[in-house]
């Protein structure tokens, strides 16, 4: 059972920089043949970047440091090089063709042919053998799209293994799985381990990590902190290493005395019909005038889903009640929410926030065109431009002018345009989802100051952030979500990071079905 001590893969002082960010800083760790090695760290600690270096997405030469496989330096100039070296990656997002059968997917791009004609008998019989070997009771002829997400994940793993890979990298494979599916997956990984296949397992869920790992390497802020033997460690130790950082950034929060409640949410239960899953369970909270309420939690905890639902852009409400400014808000469309005084700044500004081909002015006023009308139907261009200038200047957007195309701006300036659009609707409650993601330190400070100005003027801010220091630094109150439940609520200065991380994991593996 125990793994040999032969080092199959060694990462030595790997450093990867992006403009303005050092994603990996001298990361070192090694893989023993046949072990399950977990990588743990907060969001943004560098796990995904590391995986991308190992899978050849970031090619050799785009980083410093070395990757050695079986003692020889690996030079990956693309994904196929890393595949040839025996590395397979299972990503959180699936890479299967939903319209094809399991067998077709597994042999996609690799079909056995006789004189150029695919030999379907071989395809199906080989698939049958593979599925049997890993104990999956699935029909090779079933269409992948008809399977559950978990089963699809398993098919993907089988597909990766069909090509004789010896190192399997699993990036958050259980994020979308149900309890039983997680169990099957863990069993498969355990089985692979017995067969000498080495696994790198990335997960936020420490229970799973401890259930299957031989060793655990912890990343924090792009650095490898330490590697622990799982049998000689525990969850608390791992959490301590994950968060053990000094908060050096400045969070200039100026708390105000909260006024009357502006947004009250009671017993909200939300169902996601597309993924056939209950996403939010009995969520109740309120936000008062002049208050910043922070929402924390791990990826997939339901934070974005919660605010998108209240805004009218996601999910089906099973029951529960939302009151905005003392009036019931059953927002079925964002248009209604905006009209009632609620606005959202989404986490993905390029996808959900901006019309990239259009100008700054076009984007800024898009959500508030109704306030510039003359004769009830025409936009008063002068009034619009004047208002646009006001926000352009007060938010210090750095661009030649309102006519500049938004797609050409830096992340920070794009974010300011999205925020300007939100503010121009004159909201009383504003949702900020990861408002500082991917923007530089200076722009971050400006966003924080803006939150202060908003609360000074009696508005309420709901902040969703994955960066713990930001969440703790800018929120007056914090609610931690865990698997769609409220995992804990903390007042400003009351919580330690490890309390919050524990709250975030409170509902893991409990009643997910």
């Amino acid at each position: 059972m125990s793994s040999s001590h032969k080092i199959i893969l060694q990462v030595d002082r790997l450093t990867k920089t992006f403009p303005g960010v050092r994603a990996l800083n001298q990361v070192s760790f090694d893989l023993r043949e046949g072990e399950v090695h977990s990588l743990c760290g907060e969001n943004g600690a560098g796990k995904s970047t590391l995986i991308k270096c190992l899978s050849g997405i970031w090619t050799h030469g785009s980083y410093d440091g070395t990757i050695k496989i079986d003692g020889k330096e690996a030079v990956f100039n693309g994904v196929s090089d890393s595949e040839h070296a025996g590395i397979a990656v299972i990503y959180q997002e699936l890479a299967l063709v939903k319209e094809m059968t399991i067998a077709e997917n597994i042999f996609l791009g690799n079909e056995p042919t006789v004189a150029g004609i695919i030999d379907w008998n071989i395809v199906f019989s080989e698939t049958r053998k593979l599925l049997d070997r890993y104990g999956l009771k699935l029909d090779p002829a079933s269409v992948v799209g008809d399977l559950g997400v978990g089963q699809q994940q398993l098919v993907e793993i089988v597909k990766a293994l069909s090509k004789n890979r010896k190192i399997l990298l699993l990036d958050e494979p259980t994020a979308a799985l149900t309890e039983t599916e997680v169990e099957i997956l863990l069993n498969i990984i355990w089985d692979l381990r017995k067969k000498g296949i080495t696994c790198v397992y990335i997960s936020h869920k420490l229970d799973e990590v401890f259930a299957i790992s031989d060793r655990i390497t912890i990343l924090r802020d792009g650095e490898s902190v330490t590697t622990l033997e799982a049998s000689a460690s525990n969850k608390h130790e791992v959490i301590k290493h994950m968060v053990g950082r000094e908060i050096t950034q400045l969070f200039p929060r100026r708390p105000t005395t909260p006024g009357k409640p502006l947004l009250e949410v009671t017993n909200l239960n939300v169902y996601d019909d597309q993924n056939d899953k209950k996403i939010l369970h009995d969520i109740s909270f309120e936000v008062k005038a002049g208050e910043v309420l922070g929402f924390g939690g791990l990826m997939g905890a339901g934070r974005t889903e919660l605010i998108m639902h209240i805004f009218g852009a996601y999910g089906r409400r099973m029951n529960g009640n939302v009151m905005l400014n003392g009036k019931s808000l059953d927002a079925t469309t964002p248009a209604k929410s905006i009209a009632s005084g609620l606005m959202l700044v989404s986490e993905d500004r390029k996808r959900y926030g901006l019309i990239l081909d259009q100008s700054i002015g076009f984007n800024q006023s898009l959500a508030s065109l109704g306030s510039f009308l003359t004769l009830g139907m025409f936009i008063d261009g002068n009034r619009e431009v004047k208002k646009n200038w006001e926000f352009f200047k007060s938010l210090r957007v750095k661009a030649p002018g309102l006519d500049s195309v938004v797609g050409g701006l830096s992340g920070g300036n794009q974010q300011k345009v999205v925020i300007a659009k939100a503010l121009m609707t004159g909201p009383s409650v504003i949702f900020l989802d990861e408002p500082t993601r991917g923007i530089d330190v200076g722009a971050k400070q400006e966003v924080y100051e803006l939150m202060n100005l908003l609360t000074d003027s009696g508005k309420a801010v709901v902040l969703v952030s994955s960066e713990m220091p930001e969440l703790m630094g800018m929120s007056d109150r914090m609610i931690i979500l865990s698997e769609g439940h409220i995992g804990g609520e903390f007042k400003r200065g009351e919580a330690e990071q490890h309390n919050m991380l524990e709250a975030a994991m409170k509902f893991h593996g409990k009643g997910n079905a």
Partner: protein, 378 residues
């Protein structure tokens, strides 16, 4: 707010000039007042339909049924006038309402049922063509009884008197002057940069030159055609709708990024249905004018008009995935298509080769567009 002229816009206008120079050299009649008048009338309904097409291309939709639809609406009108003995005005009103209803229905199917516009309107193209032939029983129905002109026949056969033409040109020039002065004043009032006076004067000078040159030229034949006045009115309306109303902004926003548009509170379904309903009205107007231009409704009216409209939009810089395009560009695109058709007819090139040429121009224009936007993306 000075706008830079892009390489693409420039190549479009340069292409138009080259085509004009070519035809005026090989065919002396090309620049005659008579031919220019004929071209102006043809331009009027080609461009009007292209303006309508712009409304649905901007939010990333398409309509292949407009040619058949225009034929059918013209057919219904002629049948009501000739076979049923209705007045021209009431016949046209009924046909207009039918068109708006049908296109709003197609818009609703696209918006609510999520059926791709390509499929809905491809079906519509066949359905309308079939209904059209049934309505006119595959005969030729004239637009008027004998030689009694009516509202329908006058659309493309009526000309303004020469005096009225000049008066109108004068009024238009004064309006341009007032618009420039008012614009500058407003900008000054709000503290924006104002064009120096010589630039303002140059704008005014060029505009009046174009207006009067056109009026003088038309007056040498029969006068300014009524159809051109209709084109100006429709063009102005579509310009105002696309640039100065929230509805117009939403068209661009939906075509640019529909998800962001939804989260900005844009009522996407209503906007798309509205765009199709407006297009329906324009299809009806085009149907009237096309029948009037031919003097009758017969099975071939409206043939391939959808392709000319789409080609005019694309040549004029409208993106087929949505979010980009404007009235002026579409006008230039329509002018290019109409000039090509007219010039080839003058040179008595046969219809088969004309079709080949139209197709090639469309392909070249799209290729140019793809090429230039790929360059921009680098």
């Amino acid at each position: 707010m000075t706008k830079k002229i892009s390489l693409r816009d420039f190549s479009m206008v340069a292409g138009l000039l080259l085509i004009w120079i070519f035809f005026s050299m090989v065919e002396p009649n090309f620049l005659s007042s008579r031919n220019l008048t004929m071209m102006a009338i043809r331009l009027s309904f080609t461009a009007i339909l292209a303006f309508g097409m712009l409304l649905v291309l901007l939010p990333g939709q398409i309509d292949l049924s407009v040619g058949s639809g225009a034929g059918m609406i013209g057919g219904i009108t002629c049948v009501l006038i000739i076979n049923q003995g209705w007045g021209a005005g009431s016949s046209m009103l009924v046909a207009l309402l039918i068109a708006i209803g049908l296109w709003a229905l197609m818009g609703a199917l696209i918006a609510f049922q999520r059926i791709p516009a390509f499929i809905i309107t491809l079906g519509g193209m066949l359905v309308y063509r079939g209904l059209f032939w049934r309505v006119i029983e595959s005969k030729t129905i004239p637009v008027q009884h004998g030689d009694q002109a009516n509202l329908l026949s006058m659309l493309t056969t009526e000309y303004l008197s020469k005096g009225l033409g000049y008066v109108l040109a004068g009024i238009l020039s004064i309006l341009v002057l007032l618009a420039i002065i008012k614009g500058n004043r407003q900008r000054a009032k709000h503290g924006f940069e104002v064009d120096p006076w010589h630039i303002s004067f140059l704008k005014f000078f060029i505009a009046t030159q174009v207006i009067f040159l056109f009026a003088i030229n038309m007056n040498q034949y029969q006068g300014i055609p009524l159809a051109i006045i209709i084109l100006c009115i429709v063009g102005f309306l579509i310009y105002v709708i696309t640039t100065h109303t929230p509805f117009g902004r939403y068209l661009y926003a939906i075509g640019g990024n529909v998800e962001a548009a939804v989260l900005s509170g844009v009522p996407v379904n209503r906007v798309i249905i509205g765009a199709f309903a407006l297009l329906g009205a324009i299809v009806a107007l085009t149907g009237f004018m096309a029948a009037s231009y031919q003097g009758s409704s017969s099975t071939t009216v409206g043939n391939l008009m959808e392709l000319d409209a789409i080609a005019a939009c694309v040549i004029g810089g409208t993106s087929l995935v949505g979010g980009r395009g404007n009235v002026l560009g579409v006008l230039v695109g329509s002018l290019i298509m109409v000039t090509l058709l007219n010039g080839m007819e003058l040179m008595s090139i046969n219809e088969m080769d004309q079709m080949v040429a139209r197709g090639l121009v469309l392909i070249m224009a799209v290729w140019l567009d793809v090429f230039l936007s790929r360059k921009k993306a680098r």
